[in-house]
């Protein structure tokens, strides 16, 4: 699957979509929706919520097509809308209540799918699922999407130190989670200092 940030749309197709051509809009939807949904699902793991955020993102994209300046690939612009929508949802009291509830009722292991990946990637996916939404978003945006700390800080309306501390915390937590099965098998208590080795 093509990454969202790499998606470029020809200017004539964009102009047609901007002018309200239904076929062009439908084609644009088909082009960007799967990659947009993929990144939203990475940041917000709740399926129904991800569907709603995809809808919000793409509606905003169509409403503001005229504002796209073409300075970066089209996918980068759509990605910034999607990320901003996801971060906004994190601030909602409904989202916080849902996360708190799910942490009581749901096993994150059950929420991940194997779909043919190797076991280390499945473990990593599970470990990622256990991070808090904000920490997971910072880790994903920095490590995978290649955002800088300053860009993340701007998106969260916080400082670069916030981004750095969230990233460090996220990495430490991931390392602990990923080594937990091995340390347990060796009889080493969880949270022992494997970081220093």
């Amino acid at each position: 699957m093509q990454r969202l940030a790499e998606i470029e749309i020809p200017a004539d197709e964009l102009a047609a979509a901007c002018a309200g051509d239904i076929q062009a809009r439908s084609a644009l939807f088909k082009r960007v929706a799967p990659a947009t949904l993929a990144i939203i699902r990475r940041l917000v793991r709740h399926g129904a919520m991800a569907d709603d955020l995809l809808q919000d993102t793409l509606i905003a994209m169509f409403e503001h097509l005229g504002d796209f300046r073409g300075e970066a690939p089209f996918g980068v612009w759509v990605r910034s809308i999607a990320v901003s929508r996801c971060l906004m949802s994190f601030r909602s009291p409904w989202h916080r209540a849902r996360v708190a509830l799910e942490s009581w009722t749901e096993d994150p292991r059950a929420a991940t799918e194997s779909d043919g990946r190797t076991s280390d990637l499945i473990d990593l996916d599970r470990a990622l699922a256990r991070l808090s939404p904000v920490t997971r978003a910072v880790v994903w945006l920095y490590d995978v999407e290649g955002w800088s700390h300053d860009e993340i800080a701007r998106a969260f309306e916080r400082t670069a130190s916030f981004s750095k501390s969230q990233l460090a915390r996220g990495h430490a937590r991931l390392r602990t989670e990923l080594h937990a099965p091995m340390t347990a098998a060796l009889g080493i208590p969880l949270g022992s200092e494997f970081d220093g080795h």
Binding site: M1, F29, I59, R85, L128, V139, L174, H197
Partner: protein, 159 residues
């Protein structure tokens, strides 16, 4: 240094995880998206009307209850003169046990919070757009209802 190596390794594994990710298939197409949006807008409109209706009904009920209690205080001496002792005891019981504004206040606050979210988005994309103006109008109306409920609470509490 070790941590840095581990961080780089983690980042590489995260990128592999992304590359190995299955194709995400949206649950709807372009027309489905428009239909979902229309349905959601209709739900928001209904909720907004319900919240305003509930707030208005509550204001009327609270003002009515306050007036009734006021009336009751004025009429009390006559009733005492005309009725026997057991009836006086019965009259001393409160006629309104409880008129709770909690649900209406919570509904209004939730709605105002969701409007604030929507306003943030709308302002980010078009600060002087029609959508912003519409949302601000709705927010002002809800705040007005909210103020009325709070005022009614205050009036009721002082009787």
């Amino acid at each position: 240094m070790d941590t840095e190596v581990n961080d780089n390794e983690l980042a590489a594994r995260l990128r592999r995880l992304e590359a190995a990710g299955a194709q995400a298939v949206p649950a709807y197409d372009y027309h489905g998206m428009l239909a979902r949006r229309a349905a959601r807008d209709a739900r928001v409109r209904i909720r907004s009307r319900l919240a305003r209706g509930a707030a208005l009904a509550l204001v009327v009920a609270l003002v009515g209850a306050s007036a009734w209690r006021l009336d009751d205080h004025g009429a009390a001496p006559q009733v005492v003169r005309e009725t026997a002792a057991p009836a006086r005891g019965h009259e001393a019981e409160p006629r309104i046990v409880r008129a709770d504004t909690y649900l209406a206040v919570a509904a209004l606050e939730d709605h105002i919070a969701s409007l604030d979210d929507a306003l943030n988005v709308a302002r980010a994309y078009s600060p002087r757009g029609e959508e912003v103006a519409r949302l601000e109008r709705t927010r002002a109306e809800l705040l007005d209802s909210y103020a009325q409920v709070r005022y009614a609470e205050l009036v009721s509490a002082n009787f």
